[in-house]
């Protein structure tokens, strides 16, 4: 365990940035927190979490795949991957950190997504224990301890001090290169953790009951009559998807500038009417089916294939950002209520 005075945070960031690109959660011009490339003057946000999750740094919204040129009957392939620069992302919360387990299970299993893999290998995740969780937080429902996040390095912050503990080889290597940190006792963070856990206990959704979504109930849940009512007011926008740290769907598109074709991928949302559009049309013709897909995937399909691990980490972003305030908590509760 290492530490550094809170007043010296800038020196720590400077030391990290000397070695690798550093992203920290900082306030943008719109008054929201987002991961911003650190340079002198960029200050750590006071806010609990970023509007967009840390996923964006590993799986960006738009990513170039390949270019190609066609002339006569020949096709020339031009690789144009961004050479992934090593980077550190600081201040990742426990929920977002857990989301990488889910993303990894999708992108790093065969066939491996080499774009994501390169970023994962090049990225070091420095987490930060929560001290002021919000009413919308429900990571506890997924067994995540907001007071003790995972990551390559875990940090805790109180009024005076930042505590730093490396967990992995990548984390240790980073720590070794940071002479600004000084050694300290592991027990230093216990008080912070206890304080956090006390608050977590008070959170209204921390103990959300997610039983009843086991794979044997799949068809029953699929046919649950509540879907109609739940999806009725859904606008079909992609807000929930795009702020979600675990959503990982994307579309591959070609852009033809007249001289060459640029193939890229961009996030897609199962809430969109043209999601997985095929020659025959779409197999989810109304918003009800699309809405059902998103929540069935998080609550039932994904856990069925992944030893019961839910495809949600309880970060609460969708609770705050959905234009009509429909969300996974309301869905889970309603499904259970109707199932009874």
């Amino acid at each position: 365990m290492k530490k550094i005075a809170r007043s010296e945070l800038n020196a720590l960031f400077a030391a990290i940035a000397e070695q690798k690109q550093l992203f920290i959660p900082a306030d943008n011009t719109a008054g929201q927190a987002e991961f911003i490339l650190w340079k002198d003057g960029v200050a750590l946000t006071e806010k609990l979490n970023t509007t967009r999750s840390a996923k964006d740094l590993f799986f960006p919204q738009v990513e170039n795949l390949v270019n190609f040129k066609v002339s006569d009957k020949k096709m020339e392939i031009i690789e144009n991957r961004d050479p992934a620069a090593p980077f550190v992302v600081f201040g990742v919360r426990a929920c977002d950190c857990r989301s990488f387990d889910i993303l990894d299970s999708v992108f790093l299993s065969e066939p491996v997504d080499t774009f994501y893999k390169a970023r994962r290998e090049n990225g070091i995740i420095v987490t930060l224990g929560c001290t002021k969780p919000a009413e919308t937080c429900f990571c506890g429902a997924f067994g995540i301890d907001a007071a003790n996040p995972a990551g390559d390095v875990t940090c805790w912050l109180d009024g005076e001090t930042l505590y730093w503990k490396s967990n992995t080889d990548k984390g240790k290597a980073l720590t070794a290169a940071l002479s600004v940190l000084t050694d300290c006792d592991e027990n230093a963070v216990v008080a912070i953790q206890e304080n956090t856990r006390k608050i977590l206990e008070k959170l209204p959704l921390n103990n959300l009951d997610l039983s009843g979504f086991e794979s044997d109930k799949l068809m029953e849940l699929f046919n649950n009559p509540a879907w109609t009512e739940l999806s009725e007011s859904c606008l079909g926008c992609g807000t929930c998807t795009f702020v979600c740290p675990t959503c990982q769907c994307y579309d591959v598109q070609d852009f033809d500038n007249g001289r060459e074709v640029r193939r890229f991928r961009c996030w897609d949302s199962c809430m969109y009417s043209d999601f997985t559009m095929m020659a025959h049309g779409t197999n989810r013709p109304t918003q009800k089916e699309r809405f059902r897909q998103r929540f069935m995937h998080k609550l039932v399909y994904y856990p069925s294939n992944n030893n019961g691990v839910f495809g949600c980490v309880g970060c609460g972003r969708c609770l705050q950002k959905c234009p009509i305030h429909m969300n996974i908590v309301k869905v889970a509760k309603k499904l259970k209520e109707v199932a009874k």
Binding site: V70, S71, D72, N257, G258, R259, P285, T286
Partner: protein, 662 residues
């Protein structure tokens, strides 16, 4: 993927001098989809066209790009060429490398480079072209003439003469129009009634002509060849089929104090009236504004005296629907109101009259029986002042900016007639210019000056003041450079003429365009002067601009010729480049309908198969391809992009943009 042939024309040296045509055809041969590319000296020549046709067969071309002169020159030619070879004419695109390239650039490299880009744009467009077929719409072989003046009558007679049915709609109780009020006509001085009334009778007796008098056009739907018109026959409270026109009622009616509109209010008539002796139809009409029976239910004299039993106080306006293939507008003109010209004392003295009123005062059938008498005291006027250009060529905003064209000549006529009938009168004419372009017109004017001794004074009348039974006229004589003071007995104002007030609402109903003066706009000011830009609407007479009688009649016959040409056809070929909505995307919001200048867009509720075996009913735009002229206004008004234009589709235009910016 299209199989495209590119044909680069040299146009002799017109193109080849500044564009390397060989290089252009070579470079364009590399474009995707191009399977054949060549160049030739004169692509539009017989040999050139044959080459295109042979290539279409040989290479199975599905699209053709011709790099040549402006499409305005030879697009039609090349479309025909390709059609003869079995390729739809709309699979041809022209790259304009002459007017917009070789002729404006001197440097051959620059010209060549640009020609290549223009060629690429055309190729990009052809890739997205689709064969278009012009629709056919049937023609209803009946014409409507709106307005029954000399213009309308002449048009109707000519159309009827060609064997087609014609209806005349006239808002007055009789046809004849302004010409019925005129005494003599220039420059021949023959009697207007003598030449007009036989034509009125001809019209009435012609089996092919039906006259709706005392009627108005209520609404117009449809399009060229297929207009559906509702005509409102106003209640005249007299059964036309029974009335014999004996006129007894018009003598017995106790309501005698009705200003006689036919004589412009210079005398009175009864509440039931026949406008004048030769009216057609010669049927009485009750003026509902004055009839005591209609107003208070007390009277009924006309009904009692009518032996034919034609009076019907309960008559209502009647709506008649009729279909027409063509519509002719002949709504004519009116003198402007003179309330803005107080300096001439028109409203202060009855002896200040307009020229049209003067016509009535000179007319044997007028209020004075043809003897020129002052309206104020019935005495002979000895000094008469004519003022020209009252409200014409006016730039102070009170009148019209245009020349009313007929005033110079009728004033010369009036002055001449005064001097002839009453040699003891002094006649002054104040003018800005005397305009006499017309056959025998200048001779006529010179006769007025030289033989009849009319005093023509170049200058304007500044003021007319009624004083002691005289009209003190203050005027300037520009040539003599002096002020004139004339004690006149009468002042005659040559009021400007303007389109009839019914023209503007009618234009809206017809979706025909008008100029700022409310004259109907012709399709082309020089080459299509009797057609409105709206297909199937034709213009006859002064509704299009100020005209004298011979010009009016000439235009009336010209309009008739155009109508006959249209009605001769059994069907019309429509413009194939029309707007077309994608029904799946249409919101039914009506934005497109609001910007369509032709009323080509209508809406219908349509059933759709919704998701999960449901049925949805949606409001949906529909374009009538026979009416749509293909401007594309609707395509931009449509937010969902449901409306697109065939031949100039969104994708085609964007493909051209892409090719140019590439």
């Amino acid at each position: 993927m299209q199989r495209i042939g590119v044909f680069v024309c040299w146009c002799g040296s017109n193109i080849a001098a500044t564009v390397d045509v060989e290089k252009v055809s070579q470079v364009l041969a590399q474009e995707p989809g191009v399977v054949f590319s060549t160049n030739y000296q004169y692509m539009c020549s017989q040999a050139g066209q044959e080459m295109i046709q042979e290539s279409i067969h040989k290479y199975n071309l599905t699209g053709v790009v011709i790099c040549s002169c402006s499409p305005r020159m030879h697009e039609a030619t090349f479309r025909k060429t390709c059609e003869k070879a079995g390729l739809n004419g709309h699979m041809v695109e022209i790259a304009n490398i002459r007017e917009q390239c070789s002729w404006i650039h001197k440097d051959k490299d620059v010209g060549t480079e640009k020609a290549v880009v223009l060629g690429r744009a055309a190729i990009a467009k052809v890739h997205l072209n689709a064969p278009l077929t012009a629709g056919q719409s049937p023609v209803k072989k009946r014409a409507l003439v709106i307005g029954g003046g000399i213009a309308g009558i002449q048009t109707a007679l000519d159309i009827a003469d060609a064997g087609f049915d014609v209806d005349i709609v006239e808002k007055q109780p009789t046809i004849g129009g302004k010409m019925t009020q005129i005494d003599k006509t220039f420059p021949t001085l023959d009697c207007a009634a003598c030449i007009l009334t036989p034509k009125m009778v001809d019209a009435a007796q012609n089996e092919k002509i039906h006259i709706y008098s005392y009627a108005e056009v209520e609404s117009v739907k449809g399009f060229v060849g297929n207009f559906n018109v509702t005509i409102k026959k106003k209640a005249r409270y007299v059964d036309e089929t029974k009335c014999t026109g004996c006129g007894l009622c018009t003598e017995k009616c106790p309501q005698k104090k009705v200003p006689n509109a036919f004589n412009l209010g210079l005398d009175n008539r009864r509440a039931i009236y026949i406008p004048f002796a030769q009216a057609v139809p010669k049927v009485a009409t009750i003026d509902a504004d004055y009839c005591t029976m209609l107003k208070s239910g007390k009277c009924g004299v006309c009904s009692k005296v009518c032996t034919a039993g034609a009076i019907d106080y309960k008559q209502k306006d009647e709506l008649i629907e009729q279909e027409y293939g063509a519509i002719v507008v002949a709504t004519g003109f009116n003198p402007i109101k003179l309330d803005k010209y107080d300096e001439f004392a028109y409203s202060q003295s009855p002896d200040v009259v307009t020229s049209l009123e003067f016509e009535r005062l000179m007319n044997a059938a007028g209020p004075t029986g043809g003897t020129l008498l002052r309206p104020s005291d019935g005495t002979h006027p000895h000094t008469i002042v004519f003022v020209q250009c009252v409200g014409s060529r006016c730039d102070d905003g009170r009148g019209k900016s245009y020349c009313s064209k007929i005033c110079c000549m009728y004033t010369a006529k009036h002055a001449m007639l005064c001097r002839e009938k009453y040699p003891d009168t002094d006649v002054y004419v104040f003018y800005i210019d005397v305009r006499t372009p017309g056959k025998n017109f200048d001779e006529f004017y010179r006769r007025a000056v030289e033989e009849y001794g009319v005093h023509y004074v170049k200058g304007m009348v500044g003021k007319v003041v009624p004083q002691d039974g005289k009209l003190k006229v203050q005027a300037s004589d520009l040539l003599g450079d002096r002020q004139l003071h004339i004690d006149a007995d009468m002042v005659v104002l040559a009021a400007a003429i303007e389109p009839d007030e019914t023209a503007r609402p009618l234009a809206t109903k017809l979706t025909a365009s008008m100029d700022t003066n409310d004259f109907f706009t012709e399709a082309h000011p020089k080459l299509r002067p009797v057609e409105s830009p709206t297909a199937g609407i034709f213009l006859s007479g002064a509704c299009q601009g100020p005209k004298d009688i011979p010009e009016t009649v000439a235009q009336a016959s010209a309009a008739a010729a155009k109508v006959i040409g249209l009605l001769c056809k059994d069907s019309l070929t429509c413009n194939p480049c029309t707007a077309q909505p994608d029904e799946l995307m249409c919101n039914g919001c009506s934005s497109c309908e609001k910007v369509c200048p032709y009323g080509a867009i209508t809406y219908a509720d349509k059933e759709f198969r919704g998701p999960n075996r449901t049925t949805l009913i949606r409001r949906m735009a529909q374009v009538n391809p026979a009416v749509c002229q293909g401007c594309g206004a609707c395509t931009v008004a449509c937010p969902s992009g449901a409306m697109d234009l065939k031949g100039f589709s969104n994708k085609q235009i964007m493909a051209e943009v892409d090719a140019i910016c590439r």
